[in-house]
Symmetry: C2
Subunit: 301 residues, 2 copies
Amino acid sequence: MQNRQDAPIGIFDSGVGGLTVAEEVMRQLPNEKIVYFGDTARVPYGSKSKDTIIKFSKQIIRYLRTWDVKAIVVACNTASALALSEIKEELDIPIVGVIEPGAKVASEMTKNGKIGIIGTEGTINSHIHTKLIKEHKPTYQVTERACPLFVPLVEEGFFLDTNVTYEIAGKYLEVMKENEVDTLILGCTHYPFLRDTIRKIMGPEVNLVNPAYETARELKKMLSELGLAASAEATAGNGAGVTADLKAAEASSRMLSTQTSVGTGMHRFCVSDGADKVAHFAKERFPFPVENVMQVNIEEY
Amino acid sequence: MQNRQDAPIGIFDSGVGGLTVAEEVMRQLPNEKIVYFGDTARVPYGSKSKDTIIKFSKQIIRYLRTWDVKAIVVACNTASALALSEIKEELDIPIVGVIEPGAKVASEMTKNGKIGIIGTEGTINSHIHTKLIKEHKPTYQVTERACPLFVPLVEEGFFLDTNVTYEIAGKYLEVMKENEVDTLILGCTHYPFLRDTIRKIMGPEVNLVNPAYETARELKKMLSELGLAASAEATAGNGAGVTADLKAAEASSRMLSTQTSVGTGMHRFCVSDGADKVAHFAKERFPFPVENVMQVNIEEY
């Protein structure tokens, strides 16, 4: 199994937003190598059909497998919502998405049983969070809201801390306040960049759940159980006992953790368009170096 | 030549915005058949690289040629700005984009020689309008501004007539007012949907140029000169004399004409994703029936 333990983890997203998940994986699994793929030629996925998202996801997984990855993380909420179950059936390596971990932690954190979920049209219209939450907690009330302008607002940057963003977010989140949600899942990798605005609107008492943290945790647990954790990781005792670590001490960092420096190891970053632009964007937003971004003709896979 | 005259015209865009150009072509060339292709699987083009836009455009043209089109209209401003000159070199049928016609009419309409252009990042960063205008009028002053939030605002719809859109547009157009432009090119097919807001900000004296009208005119002229106009069209005397028609009487409709009913003929509408959604969107926004929208796997071309 030595070879498989040393193999990299493939992480993919429709664009660069998934780097927030990559960052969390680097932080929690500092000995793992990552191959990141961002589908910048076809971004965004949020408003596209299930069939198209499945096709794109399969192409990307075929590409990631050329790197002999030992596991895959679907960092994109839309792809996790629309394609994960179909992909899983055909795949002989472990795969984890961002939906289940987010839904799970929200169910654990809520006190009044009223959970909110915001995401792209594709994610929200899949109603997957509601299904997952109600499977275990049928009496819980889940409020769903698509926020199509949040991604372009983050990518534009210009209006981030202005009245414009506050007004737009206010409209989108109105229903969350009306329905008294006490826990809100940020169901899109771009949304943590709007956390200050969302926090201001929702108030200090509401839990804001960033699924990146739980996804990395889930991945760590899965690799340990399967004996696939990278060597140094495996010897550090982060194996089967990881579940027991889920304690109140972690509760605060399970939400929106502040960015800190993380190890870079031997990571690879690949995109389907605009490698230079991605390197530049990542340099401004992420605490780890994203260098030598490779451009891949993903349609060939 | 009979066969070629009866062949359809191919029109393409990154998505559904180019239907505004198709509408103008239907209005001005009511006897022509159209094959429209919208690349909804990979929309938007506005922030993607030149190489990628060229690749996508070539695939679409290969697809349109399977319909044996006699001419091609690049309805997408970004593709016109970034890919038209490269495509033209390899193509043996006539092709027209939306940039040159828009730049030309703006140059004719301005009184103070101060022209503004708004569009996507790709269009604006190409500086193609400025180059075209300055080629003929080197003393003219051109003010460029990318407005990345306009397309998502139109597609979201929800905020169209609200203070949010007014504030965003106000920020984007500030520089146009500062530089005293008297003629503003709406260099993206989605922008005419924001004309009321733009008009309110720019004032009643400023010319708002929608390149769709001039593009259809240019196409009509080109088909006539090449003897490619559809039969009934050719007999209606809209041939070589068309240039002389460009008179003051037309000046108002050269700008943002109101939508009126147009003939539908035997048009085809194709997209790379979400055919049903497109049919629904088109039904709400366009005065012609868009039925039986075909879905095409464009990456195969």
